[in-house]
């Protein structure tokens, strides 16, 4: 008994712990090699698995084609259940997409370093999950060729969308989420693609196909100080814009249901409950994908058990929120005194959805709560199994929430059961094949772990205090013309000291090249904050005004009274305005980083060396011959590995 109490006491302390996991004990070159080597040509087994997953896509495509050909009658959705497994799958996959942004953006903002090892895979998971989710409204529509009708575009046929409808909010929210996640993912990839480019050029030759592809994708990234300065600010603003977006997306999805006057759907708790559930399932999916991936791609040295432990601990927080929601929902149903609500709650626990209903608490709360125990968190098998349980539990929850309310509404003569047909089941299974196929493809074509972030942790440890520059702001850009001296150092700390010394000696034209961002260099050189903030703010303000403008304009054209609402209703129009704010803010931020970091070329900057994307830190000083000579003497005192003077 005593042991049980102690065990229970141990269950709670970890509920809110977000570990700062240890930095992998590796050097820059090893991290580079470990991350990039899985991108070399895979073996036959990989292709066999890929082929099998492609067969999974066929599992989705063939029944869908059959459904299009035969009609929606082949699906189980019929009166009274008009929203079945397809919509549940949509909600489930949008939910899975949530942890990517949580790990990338929110944990970035709260400076939780353990995110670095898992963020790239989680971001990729977000993109592929939204793509998978995006299939289901099309599958559910039936007549897929009229999908464009749901997009809010000015139409000559006068079918302006109704911005009071949650379905239009949904289109705006999910498409914004996909766009912003894709931009965030792509921007995060750029420094790592440059490393992949340099490695491919070295190993396969400058003109190899891989080198060409990575060169095009990396946009001429050189890791120059003048690029990092704008890049790091821009990344911060992406994170700041994506954080409220992640909360808004599943809130909007939940309002598809909460706005309907149906027992089980119409409840104010739905938005935070859906958001927490989405993150819960997304984190579980991260465990399910990362545990085999680190083994198969030999990433054990980079994705440490501590990182999985941290994901598990974060999942405990969402577990607590899920438990809270599961208790509050039936309580409010009873408290309301609404006989329809209460009979529905009882029916859900005793009628045909009861198997789903009673499985939720064990699968989504009790089983993941076992991760409170250290032994469980240390076992990869246990974490994998728990992850699977939560993924299954959250899918069941979505099916139960979506199908049961329409099946058992206010009028007994309107009640009816729902069971998915073989077409719906195969399409559902096929969606997993589609998702896994994309993820598998990603695992061998792009860096699965953010190289520059991981290396940044090493660089942080090397940094030393250096006095800020007393001279006016130096020019950060060095062109190809003129004489210049290049010094190459093996660590970030020496580079910072060298830059500080150069600055104090009055050198005005210099550039640094590093594989990681080093904010300290900007601090020393007294660089003003990047102007990308003005771009992002301007974009956000224009987006907000445009969102309101679009909704108000549409209401002015239509003038329709839908559901008793005034066509010009500001409360629901806050949603298009919010989505517009985030969307245009992100696009402006993207434009700013492209312009200011000069990411529109394919060749790196002059004086760049390939080792600068791997494990070396360089500084280049330009000037006339005597000035360069003086710089050379000064830099020599820092014992660089290479010290070159080039005309």
């Amino acid at each position: 008994m005593n042991l049980q109490i102690r065990a229970l006491g141990g269950l709670l302390p970890v509920l809110l712990q977000v570990l700062e996991a240890a930095v992998p004990d590796l050097d820059y070159a090893t991290i580079n090699e470990d991350v990039l080597s899985p991108m070399s040509p895979p073996g036959p087994l990989y292709y066999a698995v890929l082929l099998m997953l492609a067969g999974g896509i066929g599992l989705l495509a063939l029944p869908w084609m059959y459904q299009i050909h035969t009609g929606m009658g082949v699906a189980g959705i019929s009166h009274p259940v008009g929203w079945g497994v397809y919509i549940a799958n949509f909600v489930f996959w949008v939910g899975i997409a949530h942890s990517g942004t949580l790990i990338s953006a929110i944990l970035f903002l709260v400076r939780a370093k353990w995110r670095d090892s898992v963020s790239r895979a989680a971001e990729a998971m977000t993109i592929f999950a939204i793509m998978t989710a995006g299939l289901f409204p099309m599958v559910h529509l039936g007549r897929v060729w009229v999908i464009a009708f749901i997009l809010p575009y000015p139409s000559q046929r006068q079918i302006w969308p109704n911005f009071i409808s949650p379905l239009v909010w949904d289109v705006l929210a999910v498409s914004t989420y996909f766009t912003v996640s894709l931009i965030f993912f792509t921007i995060g990839l750029i420094p790592d693609l440059a490393a992949a480019r340099d490695r491919a050029e070295e190993k396969l030759g400058y003109d190899s196909v891989k080198a060409r592809i990575y060169r095009a994708l990396s946009g001429g990234w050189s890791g120059a100080g003048s690029q990092w300065r704008h890049y790091s600010r821009s990344y911060l603003y992406f994170a700041a814009l994506a954080t409220p977006l992640v909360i808004s997306v599943h809130s909007v999805v939940s309002w598809d249901f909460a706005m309907a006057n149906l027992p089980g759907w119409h409840t104010t708790l739905f938005a935070p409950y859906f958001v927490a559930g989405a993150i819960h399932s997304g984190l579980a999916m991260v465990l399910v994908l990362m545990i085999p991936m680190r083994k198969l791609l030999k990433l054990e040295r980079l994705v440490l058990p501590e990182h999985l432990d941290a994901v598990a601990r974060t999942t405990l927080v969402t577990t607590a929120i899920m438990g809270y929601s599961y208790l509050v929902e039936p309580f409010t149903s009873w408290y309301s005194g609404d006989k329809f609500e209460w009979q529905f709650t009882i029916w859900r626990a005793t009628g045909w959805p009861s198997i789903m209903f009673w499985s939720l608490f064990p699968l989504n709360v009790l089983i993941p709560a076992a991760m409170a125990f250290k032994k469980v968190r240390q076992s990869r098998i246990a974490l994998f199994v728990i992850g699977l349980c939560v993924v299954a539990g959250m899918w069941i929850e979505r099916v139960m929430l979506i199908t049961s309310s329409t099946s058992h509404d206010f009028m007994p003569h309107n009640w009816g059961p729902y069971f998915p047909t073989w077409v719906e089941i195969l399409i559902t299974l096929g969606s997993f094949g589609f998702f896994l196929f994309l993820f598998f493809l990603f695992s061998r074509t792009l860096p699965t772990i953010p190289l520059s972030d991981l290396k940044g942790q090493l660089a942080e440890e090397e940094l030393r205090e250096a006095p800020p520059c007393p001279c006016p702001e130096p020019d950060f850009v060095v062109g190809a013309e003129g004489t210049a001296v290049t010094a190459v150092f093996p660590d970030a700390g020496t580079l910072v000291l060298a830059v500080s010394a150069l600055c104090h000696a009055g050198f005005q034209r210099m550039e640094t090249f590093t594989p990681v961002k080093i904010d300290k260099i900007q601090q020393i050189m007294g660089q003003e904050r990047s102007p990308v903030r003005r771009w992002a703010l301007t974009g956000a303000v224009i987006g907000c005004i445009s969102g309101f403008g679009l909704a108000i304009g549409a209401s002015g054209v239509n003038g329709l009274i839908v559901g008793g609402k005034n066509p010009l209703s500001i409360i629901p129009y806050c949603i298009p305005a919010f989505e517009g704010t985030v969307l245009l803010g992100s696009i402006a931020n993207l434009a700013a980083v492209i312009v200011h970091s000069r990411l529109f070329g394919t060749t790196p900057m002059p004086r760049y060396r390939r080792s600068f994307s791997n494990d070396k830190f360089g500084v280049v000083v330009a000037g006339d011959a005597p000035e360069v000579g003086r710089a050379r003497t000064l830099l020599a005192s820092f014992s660089p590995e290479v010290l070159d003077v080039a005309p």
């Binding site: 709670l12 706005m259 006057n261 408290y335």
Partner: protein
């Protein structure tokens, strides 16, 4: 020397300052008894409820921020974390205020002499006893947490305390805000109360940090970011409640919203809360300077605290009065509880706050 650098239990509250706080409290009490209570008994007692909700959220939220920082491995707070323990000084006054509300329940609460469908749940002795016991249990947990925390431990009890805070303030929200109108219900109201409580507390924490001049610009910056984050979270929680209610327009739900949003004069208060409390930080805390400078952060925190007091009043008052009756009852009761709160916090600060060392991971 900042008050934060003072060793525990080494100082004394200066007599003039202590006297000033007590005089404020006394003045509040006298005005409340002599003017507010005879004028309108229910409103006077509900003013106690409003101030109880505000100051208890502030005090309990402050104490809860410490385990949140500890368990999330937040190192940014440094010695500022000591300030959170000052909230504990309001433990007994909050319990006394709740006990008084129980004692005078018949004069202000809507549950007496009515047959309600919630039955025993809203039977006044059960309701008040439940709330009193839960709040007392929370403060016991807080006391035990501080004891462990002084030893460099406290993770186990800290986690329980966070769960306890969420549970207790959910129930307080359901009982003392939602149940004021027994027909109306919202499953998110409990969640709203504890999220907004943490928002009130982080504003209070920032204001205290500025007043004791104990923070570094980076710490003010982080506190500013937390205020911004919790303003967004609070706004999201409120919007998530309002929009399904507005959308469905059901009589038993919408009657909570209509007096607050649709009609004068309360809709003006709603606009004020929207612009200051919910959306204000997005503009006020947009720049880095406004977060790093105590000369900006302090006044912003103060403005938000004023706004959040009005928000607590807005949660309670329109349920009972269609007019904007803001008078001696609210002012005097605010002075009484503010005097007590200020005295307790000042006493804790001048006496020397407990050291909160970081220990090993117990889990």
């Amino acid at each position: 020397m900042s008050l934060l650098d003072r060793q525990p239990h080494t100082g004394r509250l200066p007599l003039p300052l202590g006297a000033a706080w007590l005089l404020l409290a006394l003045a509040g009490l006298v005005v409340w008894v002599l003017i507010a209570l005879p004028a309108n008994q229910p409103q006077a007692w509900r003013a106690l409820l409003v101030n109880f909700l505000f100051f208890t959220s502030l005090a309990a939220g402050l104490v809860t921020w410490s385990p949140i920082v500890l368990l999330s491995h937040g190192k940014w707070a440094g010695r500022l974390e000591r300030l959170t323990s000052a909230g504990y000084s309001f433990a007994l006054p909050s319990l006394a205020a709740l006990a008084l509300l129980w004692w005078a329940g018949e004069k202000w609460a809507p549950w007496y002499g009515k047959k309600l469908h919630q039955g025993t749940w809203l039977f006044p002795p059960v309701l008040f006893a439940r709330d009193l016991i839960l709040l007392a249990l929370f403060w016991v947990l807080a006391h035990y947490y501080l004891k462990r925390r002084r030893l460099g431990e406290g993770r186990v009890v800290g986690a329980w305390m966070i769960l306890g805070y969420c549970t207790v303030f959910t129930i307080l929200g359901f009982d003392l805000v939602m149940a004021l109108d027994p027909v109306w219900y919202s499953s998110l109201l409990g969640g709203y109360l504890f999220v907004s409580g943490l928002y009130i507390a982080v504003c209070g924490w920032a204001l205290l940090a500025v007043l004791v001049k104990g923070g570094q610009p980076e710490q003010y910056h982080d506190l500013g970011n937390l205020m911004l984050a919790f303003s967004i979270l609070t706004t999201h929680t409120m919007f998530s409640q309002l929009i399904p209610i507005w959308y469905e327009n059901l009589p038993h739900e919408i009657h909570y919203l209509v007096p607050r949003v649709n009609f004068l004069p309360w809709n003006l208060v709603s606009w004020f809360i929207l612009l200051v409390v919910w959306l204000g930080p997005l503009v006020l805390l947009l720049t880095i300077r406004s977060k790093r400078s105590p000369y900006f952060l302090g006044p912003i925190a103060l403005l938000l605290l004023v706004g959040l007091w009005i928000e607590r009043w807005w949660l309670v008052a329109p349920t009972f009065q269609s007019r904007l009756d803001f008078g001696w009852a609210e002012i005097s009761m605010f002075c009484l509880l503010f005097g007590i709160f200020g005295f307790g916090v000042s006493h804790a600060l001048w006496r020397g706050l407990p050291e909160l060392p970081r220990g090993g991971d117990e889990s």
